[in-house]
Amino acid sequence: MLILTRKLGESVIIGDNIKLTVVEINRSHIKFGIDAPKDITIHREEVFEKIMDENEYSSYSNMIDLS
């Protein structure tokens, strides 16, 4: 994993058109601002994980035969 040090207000550029800026630093959290093209989806990782889990639970579902 690439690790970079940034100060408040500084950015990193990812690829040609994604810019990640540190906009707030607190003791236990950091706020980023993200500039990216609209077709790039951005989600918190835990949302992804929850959806992945829920998709998996869905695949365990059983069918109830009503006939």
């Binding site: 929850k50 959806i51 069918m63």
Partner: protein
């Protein structure tokens, strides 16, 4: 072609019925071809059955039937990818979870499957914000 399935036995699949996921269902990267099965004598009635993996099937429901206020806005990128030009080109489904405790049946309103029935293309999208629950309980009122 014939495929053997876990839930529906041996079924015939015609190529024209196959739905291709342009982005796999999250967590199921190896499976992109499905068919939509309607089983009138069963609950749930609608299933996305993998063509590639006979054991894999997801029960699905129309989110509009479980939440009358449900609405989604598709971004132009998703519309382009799925060749959706108008509302008639899109079908929206959400995955159901049917646990052994049937009262806990729920659906994921946050990550619907958007499907173009004419082009047979689909994609699971993640809606921005927290307006819709990943665990939307259908039967009871714990939402």
């Amino acid at each position: 072609m014939k495929i053997k399935t876990r839930l529906f036995g041996e079924i015939m699949v015609s190529k024209a019925d196959i739905i291709t996921f342009i982005v796999p269902i999250l967590g199921f990267d190896d499976h992109v071809q499905y068919i939509l099965i309607e089983k009138e004598t069963a609950f749930p009635t609608f299933w996305l059955q993998s063509v590639e993996e006979p054991k894999l099937a997801f029960p699905v429901v129309s989110p509009f039937s479980v939440n009358e206020n449900y609405s989604i806005k598709l971004c132009s990128h998703d519309c382009d990818e799925l060749h959706i030009k108008g509302i008639d080109d899109a079908l929206v489904l959400t995955l159901l979870v049917v646990p052994s405790d049937i009262l806990s049946i729920r659906t994921n309103l946050r990550a619907p499957i958007v499907f173009n029935p004419q082009k047979r293309l689909a994609k699971q999208i993640i809606l921005p914000g927290e307006r819709y629950s990943i665990h939307y309980y259908i039967v009871d009122d714990r939402n």
